[in-house]
């Protein structure tokens, strides 16, 4: 790793913290952006071309706008929404992860570790169990509620409210909350004995059955969340300098945290209610992007959005090869990839105690 790239702010247990170097190398940013865009395009084409029917790529351009023939219909109404949803969900979760890490000032903060995803899932499953006819837009609002309550509880549990909380405390609090919510969800599902598919979807997450309606439900919140996040890039950069420093520079630290948290809830809640709790995106994508281009949020956030999309897209593609020719939720692949990376990150944490 060349020294011209910004480094990950080193987390410490004690109160004094070091000021991170936020230096970004313009060239690197350009290269990474290009690489990611290439990956997106390649991924989209790949995603559009695989499936149980053999459809040559040459049909794709025609299918984008008009769809008369069955194979064009397949591309337009099944594969395209799936690819687009994968990109959207990935973007939402990755940006939410980056935001969370900024707000909690904690490199291990991520929606699933903080119980935010588990909260959203639990509330949605509860709602569907109680009112089976519920679907679509109202569930997203419920998901927000669940995500919010879980997130707030975890923050309380960890004892924050004034600045940095040690990664350990936050992680442990999040795990506690998550495991509670997940076991509640599991039991709701067991007692309903409905079908294994629902169980797997709500436990693992995936974009297998994506439709344009899902995208329509998600899009407004995604756009709101992303725009809000990008607008917060400068304040977040200031926040990373430390509370006192930021306040000294005239920033309202509490308000920044609040907006950041609200955006996390919006992005996670919406993504989870539409695609289930796809694991680890919010944790690993920000870390990888940070290692590549440094930690300036003006650059980090957009690249996270693209990077997250790429990851979920490729995970979905890979999931087709797990049990061919039949489907497996993409969340399984992200979990299998993400877990070892999480272990690696946890080991790397330089904590002085």
């Amino acid at each position: 790793m060349t020294s011209s790239v910004g480094t990950v702010p080193k987390p410490v247990e004690d109160v004094t913290h070091k000021r991170p170097r936020i230096v970004t190398n313009k060239q690197r940013v350009t290269w990474v952006t290009l690489a990611l865009l290439v990956l997106v395009v390649a991924g989209v084409l790949w995603g559009l071309s695989i499936g149980s029917q053999q459809i040559p790529l040459s049909r794709v351009p025609g299918a984008i706008f008009k769809a008369d023939q069955p194979d064009e219909l397949i591309i337009q109404s099944i594969r395209m929404p799936r690819v687009v949803l994968a990109l959207c969900v990935g973007a939402a979760l990755a940006v939410a992860g980056a935001l969370m890490q900024a707000v909690a000032a904690n490199p291990l903060a991520a929606p699933e570790i903080m119980g935010v995803n588990a909260g959203a899932v639990f509330v949605v499953v509860l709602a569907i169990t109680v009112v089976p006819s519920l679907s679509g837009a109202p569930t997203i609002l419920l998901a927000f509620g669940g995500a919010a309550v879980a997130g707030v509880s975890v923050m309380l549990l960890a004892g924050s409210g004034g600045g940095r909380v040690s990664p350990v405390r936050l992680a442990l609090a999040g795990v506690t909350a998550s495991s509670l919510l997940i076991s509640l969800t599991q039991v709701l599902i067991i007692f309903d004995e409905n079908s294994a598919d629902s169980v797997l979807f709500w436990l693992v997450g995936g974009v297998n059955f994506a439709g344009w309606s899902d995208i329509r439900n998600l899009l407004p919140w995604l756009v709101l969340g992303l725009i809000g996040a990008f607008a917060m890039a400068r304040p977040l950069n200031l926040l990373a300098l430390g509370d006192d420093m930021a306040r000294g520079l005239g920033q309202n630290v509490e308000r920044t945290r609040m907006y950041g948290s609200a955006l996390v809830i919006v992005l996670c809640g919406a993504a989870v209610s539409v695609a289930g709790p796809v694991a680890f995106i919010g944790l690993i994508v920000p870390h990888i992007i940070r290692r590549l281009v440094g930690s300036s949020y003006t650059v980090l956030l957009p690249l996270c959005a693209v990077g997250g999309g790429v990851l979920v897209l490729y995970a979905d593609i890979a999931s087709r090869y797990v049990k061919p020719p039949f489907e497996v939720p993409a969340g399984v692949v992200t979990a299998l990839i993400g877990a070892p990376i999480f272990v690696y990150l946890a080991r790397r944490q330089k904590v002085t105690s």
Binding site: I113, V168, L172, S183, A196, A346, V351
Partner: protein, 341 residues
């Protein structure tokens, strides 16, 4: 972390701390009474008197005998699992120096769960008896993995906790993968994973008994070492304690207890988290008192959870693991917010 707690509790000398044995004795009596009550509760009610007679073998009343034959192993298991989880949690919190630490943190629960699932699902013809030892070994192996990965010229509590969470997540991913590949068995698998005392027999009791009988007294004997470790690595070393070795051994004990508990009853959460807290609040931070107390609180929690699970909506049975999660989770939140960490 626990230095602060110790200091805080030493200042408040409560009744409990002045006469710990009295209070502990009464808790014990309460647990025994609750056990008998638990034996009498369920889908068919049997009076406490009949239960008592049946236990001492002094009756030919068939209903009571049946109750004893099937409920007794569950009650005994509630005792043993409660003790195992609570003591394991106490030790873990003392070693990691964090009140939020629980056996799950070092990957035991998920490791055991994964190993059990692997056997149950991937090898269909496997006899059920093999699952318990497999889960036990899985739990130990996971903890060993966490320790190894966290080791870098010593394994600091913080690293252990962080790596533990990550390794748990990895095993969780493995469990989900297994579930996805075996969708028809999902309900049964989830029920086992949630943790319950359903259908357990005397053989389960015998599987966990030796671990509890051997390790718990050992841990109580070592309780002063735990106190010393709680002062911080440097101070402890200064007091002549071989920190790394003691920590490793204590963790091993804690993990073995937790693995045994998970292997026989599935993953019952929050007992290992709450019982030590309750014990410390009432009896203070010195482990020689708080560990036996935690054990008793663990027993009470398990008995309560099992009873509630069986008695709430017969003939349906709510898994004990769910009851502990539903009751324990919010209570734990309340505790933490109240004591402010």
């Amino acid at each position: 972390m626990s230095t602060a707690i110790v200091a805080q509790h030493v200042r408040r000398t409560s009744l409990a701390q002045r006469h710990p044995s009295v209070l502990m004795g009464s808790l014990c009596v309460l647990a025994v009474v609750l056990s008998f009550y638990s034996l009498s509760v369920g889908a068919t009610d049997v009076s406490m008197g009949d239960v008592f007679n049946a236990v001492i073998g002094n009756t030919s009343d068939q209903a009571a005998q049946i109750v004893v034959q099937f409920q007794l192993p569950r009650v005994l298991l509630a005792w043993l699992v409660g003790i195992a989880l609570a003591v394991s949690g106490s030790v873990m919190q003392g070693v990691i120096r964090n009140p939020l630490a629980a056996p799950d943190v070092v990957g035991v629960t998920k490791g055991a769960g994964f190993a059990g699932m692997l056997l149950l699902l991937a090898i269909p013809g496997m006899p059920v008896v093999a699952v318990v030892p497999a889960a036990f070994v899985g739990g130990l192996a996971a903890a060993a993995l966490v320790y190894l990965l966290a080791y870098r010229r010593g394994a600091t509590p913080v690293r252990i906790a962080l790596v533990g969470i990550a390794v748990s997540a990895a095993f969780e991913a493995g469990i989900r993968f297994l579930l996805v590949r075996n969708p028809l068995d999902v309900s049964a698998a989830l029920i086992w994973l949630t943790g319950s005392l359903f259908g357990r027999s005397m053989s389960s009791v015998l599987e966990i008994l030796p671990w509890v009988l051997v390790l718990v007294p050992l841990i109580v004997i070592w309780s002063r070492k735990l106190d010393v470790l709680g002062l911080g690595d440097d101070l402890a070393a200064g007091l002549g304690e071989p920190v790394e070795r003691t920590r490793r051994t204590l963790l091993l004990f804690s993990v073995a207890l937790a693995a045994a508990a998970v292997a026989v009853s599935g993953t019952i959460g929050f007992v290992g988290l709450i019982a030590p807290h309750m014990a410390r609040r009432v009896f203070g931070g010195k482990h020689v008192a708080s560990i036996p107390a935690a054990a008793l609180f663990g027993v009470l929690l398990m008995l309560f959870a099992d009873m509630l699970g069986r008695g709430l909506a017969p003939p349906l049975e709510i898994p004990a693991g769910l009851v502990t999660a539903v009751v324990g989770g919010p209570y734990f939140l309340y505790l933490l917010v109240k004591t402010g960490k």
